[in-house]
C-alpha cells in the first residue's frame, strides 16, 4: 500500500547510507531523539475509552489484559488441558454421530438413493435442504472476518477465528450433500472441466455448474484466509510449546514466522486484500445457490427476490450458529471470557435481529408478489405452504424466523445468555425448516396435478443429517482442543489500543522530533533522512 505521506525511505534502502559510520553528530542527534521519544509516550490509562463527551462503552476486551496474558490464556486452552469434562462428553457424542454418518453414507453407496425419501416429484428432499442450510451457516465466518475487517469493526477480532473455523466445517458438510445425492457419486468429478476422452464439457450455462465453482472457490478462499490469519498464532504456539514434539508440530504450521516488521507489513496488506476478495465472494456464493432455484421455472422458486433473500438468510443462520456454539464454549472455558465479552454477543444478537428482519421482508415480498403477480400457480404455492400438508413446517419457520427474533429488541434478551441461546437454536431450526419448505412445497405440488406427491424423510435421511451435525461438532471440538481459538495477534492489538496509547503517524513523529531537536543536529530533515 502506498503511504499518503512521504516516508523517509524515498531516498534509499541502503545504498546511499554507505558512509562507513554515521557521523558523530548524527549519532548524537539520533540518541537525543530516541530518548525524547521514549519520554513522549503518554501515561497508560486503564479506563475504558470512548468518544469524548459520551459515557464510556463496555470494553471489547476486559481490562487487566496484557500482551503476555493474551498469549497465556489463549495458548493455555490448548496446552493446559483444562477443557471441562462436559466438552469431552460432547465430543464423544458428536464422534459417535460421525460414525453414524459414515455408516449411513456407506449404506447409501451400497443401496443407492432409494433408501432416502426422495423420488418423483420431490427429487431434492433432504440433501438439498441440508446443502443450502449448511452453506448458509458457512457464511457467518467469512462475513465476520472479511466484511467486518473491511468496514473496520474492531469487535470482530475476538470471534473471527472461531467463526472462520465454523465456516470451513460447515462448508465441508455442505459440499458433501450434492455429491452423495448423485445416483452414481463416484462420477462426481464429471462436473469439473477437465480434458476427458468423451470430448465433453460441463454445462457452463447451468447454475448447478456455477455452484461447483462458487462453493469450491469459497471453501478454498476461506481456508487460505483462515490459515493466513492463524500463522502468527501458530508461531506463538511453537514458542510456548512445553515439549519439543509440540514445538515441531506447531513450528511446521507456523512456516518459520518470526514476527518481522517487514513481514507484518506485507501480511497486513495481503490479509486486507483477501478480506476484500472474500466480501463479494460471500455474496456471490449464496446468490448462486439461490439461482439453482430461481433459474428453474417452478412456481415458488422463479423469483428475483431469491438471491438477496438467501444471502440475508445465510448471514442470519450463520450468526445464530456462531452464538449457539460460542455461548456454551464461553461458559465452559473461562479463559475465553475476557476476550468474548457481553458486547460482542450484543453485536451478534443485533445482527441476527437485523438480518431476521430482512428475511421477514423476503417472506412478505414473496407472498405479496405471488398474489399481485396474478399467476395462479404461484399463488397456489403460497396458499399450499400456509394451509397445505406442510403447514406445520411453514408456521414453525414463521414463528422461529420472524416472531422469536423480536425478543432481541430488548436488552434483557441480548444479555441473558441462556435465553439468547434458546433464540439462536430456534433460528437454526427455523432456517432449516425454511429450506425444507422451499424445496419440498414447490416440488410436491407442481403444475400438473397428476404428478403430485408427498415427501417425508426416512430413517436414513435423518441419519445422514444427524451425522453431519456430529461431524461438525467433532471438527469444532478438535479445533478448540488443538488450535488457538482466538486470534492472539489481533487481541494484542486490542490490548495496545485499550491501553490508550495511540501511536502518532510517522511523519508527525519525525516532525515533532525535528522541532524538538533543532540544534542537536546540523542536518535538515531531508538531509538526515538521505
Amino acid at each position: 500500500m502506498s503511504m499518503p505521506y512521504p516516508t523517509p525511505t524515498g531516498a534509499s534502502s541502503g545504498d546511499e547510507a554507505t558512509e562507513a559510520l554515521a557521523p558523530a553528530e548524527r549519532l548524537e542527534a539520533a540518541v537525543a531523539l530516541a530518548q525524547r521519544q521514549s519520554r513522549l509516550a503518554p501515561p497508560v490509562s486503564s479506563e475504558a475509552t470512548g468518544p469524548p463527551g459520551q459515557p464510556p462503552e463496555a470494553p471489547l476486551i476486559l481490562p487487566g489484559q496484557t500482551f503476555a496474558s493474551v498469549s497465556e490464556s489463549v495458548s493455555g486452552i490448548v496446552y493446559d488441558r483444562k477443557l471441562p469434562r462436559v466438552l469431552y462428553l460432547f465430543a464423544a457424542l458428536t464422534f459417535s454421530l460421525t460414525m453414524v454418518l459414515l455408516g449411513a453414507i456407506g449404506w447409501l453407496f451400497a443401496k443407492g438413493v432409494g433408501i432416502w425419501g426422495v423420488g418423483m416429484p420431490v427429487a431434492w428432499g433432504f440433501a438439498i435442504t441440508n446443502f443450502v442450510w449448511w452453506i448458509g451457516i458457512g457464511h457467518a465466518g467469512t462475513l465476520i472476518s472479511a466484511v467486518l475487517l473491511v468496514t473496520r469493526q474492531p469487535w470482530r477480532n475476538s470471534i473471527n477465528r472461531f467463526a472462520e473455523a465454523m465456516t470451513l466445517f460447515a462448508v465441508a458438510n455442505a459440499g458433501l450433500f450434492p455429491i452423495i445425492h448423485l445416483g452414481r457419486p463416484w462420477m462426481a468429478y464429471y462436473i469439473l472441466p477437465y480434458p476427458n476422452s468423451m470430448g465433453l464439457w460441463p454445462q457452463f450455462r447451468s447454475p448447478l455448474t456455477w455452484d461447483v465453482f462458487a462453493v469450491s472457490t469459497y471453501a478454498l478462499v476461506s481456508l487460505l484466509f483462515w490459515y493466513l490469519g492463524v500463522v502468527p498464532d501458530f508461531a506463538t504456539m511453537r514458542d510456548r510449546a512445553p515439549t519439543r514434539r509440540q514445538a515441531r508440530l506447531y513450528g511446521v504450521f507456523a512456516l518459520g514466522w518470526r514476527g518481522s516488521a517487514r513481514h507484518w507489513h506485507r501480511y497486513r496488506t495481503a490479509y486486507l486484500l483477501l478480506a476484500g476478495l472474500a466480501t463479494p465472494l460471500v455474496v456471490s456464493v449464496h446468490s448462486i445457490v439461490a439461482l439453482d432455484f430461481t433459474v428453474a421455472i417452478e412456481p415458488g422458486w422463479h423469483s428475483t427476490i431469491f438471491p438477496p433473500y438467501f444471502v440475508a438468510g445465510a448471514i442470519f443462520s450463520g450468526f445464530a450458529m456462531v452464538l449457539t456454539l460460542l455461548i456454551p464454549v464461553r461458559a465452559l472455558v473461562p479463559s475465553v471470557r475476557p476476550f468474548v465479552t457481553q458486547r460482542h454477543i450484543d453485536f451478534m444478537a443485533k445482527t441476527i435481529l437485523a438480518t431476521g428482519l430482512l428475511v421477514t421482508y423476503g417472506y412478505v415480498s414473496e407472498a405479496f408478489m405471488a398474489w399481485y403477480g396474478g399467476d395462479p400457480a404461484e399463488w397456489f404455492v403460497i396458499k399450499n405452504r400456509a394451509f397445505g400438508p406442510y403447514a406445520p413446517m411453514y408456521w414453525t419457520l414463521i414463528f422461529c424466523n420472524t416472531v422469536v427474533i423480536h425478543t432481541l429488541w430488548f436488552r434483557w434478551s441480548r444479555r441473558t445468555l441462556w435465553f439468547l441461546w434458546i433464540v439462536t437454536v430456534l433460528v437454526n431450526v427455523g432456517m432449516w425448516t425454511e429450506r425444507y419448505v422451499i424445496v419440498v412445497t414447490t416440488l410436491h405440488r407442481d403444475f400438473l396435478p397428476s404428478s403430485w406427491g408427498m415427501f417425508s424423510g426416512t430413517f436414513w435421511d435423518w441419519a445422514v443429517f444427524a451425522g453431519t451435525l456430529g461431524l461438525f461438532g467433532t471438527l469444532m471440538f478438535l479445533f478448540v482442543r488443538f488450535v488457538p481459538m482466538l486470534s492472539m495477534s489481533e487481541n494484542r492489538g486490542l490490548v495496545a489500543e485499550a491501553s490508550g496509547r495511540p501511536v502518532p503517524p510517522q511523519q508527525a513523529r519525525l516532525e515533532a522530533a525535528q522541532e524538538r531537536a533543532p540544534t542537536a543536529s546540523p542536518y535538515t530533515h531531508e538531509e538526515t533522512l538521505s
Binding site: M1, T9, L27, G259, V503
Partner: protein, 197 residues
Amino acid sequence: MTTPLSPAQASATSPLHAPPLHAALWGVVAEFDTPEAVLAAADATFLAGYRALDAYSPYPVEGLAEALGVRGNRIPLITLLGGLVGGAAGYFMLWYATVVSYPLNVGGRPHNSWPAFIPITFETTILVAAFAAFLGVLWMNGLPQPYHPVFHAEAFRRASQDRFFLSVEAADPAFDRDATRAFLASLGARSVQEVQP
C-alpha cells in the same frame, strides 16, 4: 552500557578496527519491553544511518515497518495480476469450451453467451487472486523458512508473545560491533546481544 556514546568514542570505532570475529557475526539484536520503545528505537536507528534493520513484534505495530524504511509493497500488484489472469483464463475456458471445442446450437442462440459466463469468470478471478495474495505474501516474506539466525537470540521466543526486538545486521555498512551495541543499548533496550549466523 546505557550511556550514549560521546562523539569522540563514536568516531574512534571504525570498521578498520573491527574484531576478528566480525565475519562470524550475523548482527546485533536489542530487546524492548513496549511497542513505543521499539518504535522510537527504530526511528533513531534509521536516522543514525543504519539500513539493514528489522524489528520483531508479536502483533503488527502501527508504523514500525515504515520506521525501518519499508515503503509500500508488491502484494497488491501481485493480487491484481492474479485476478486478471484468473478472470481471463476462466473466461477463455468458457469461450473455448462453448465456441471452439464443443459448439452446440441451442435455438440459434449465440455460442459465446457471455451473461451466463459471468458467475464462473467471477469465481475464477477471486480464486486466482486469493491464491496470488496468499502465495505472494509467503514468497515475498521468504516463508516457509525454518531457520533464521535471529532465533538464536536469547528470549527471542517472546517476540511472538510480549517482547519487541530490533536487529541490525553485520552486513550493514554502518555496522560496527561495539558502537552499534552501545548505540542500541543507549536507546533503552532491555538487553543487547550478538547473534551468530
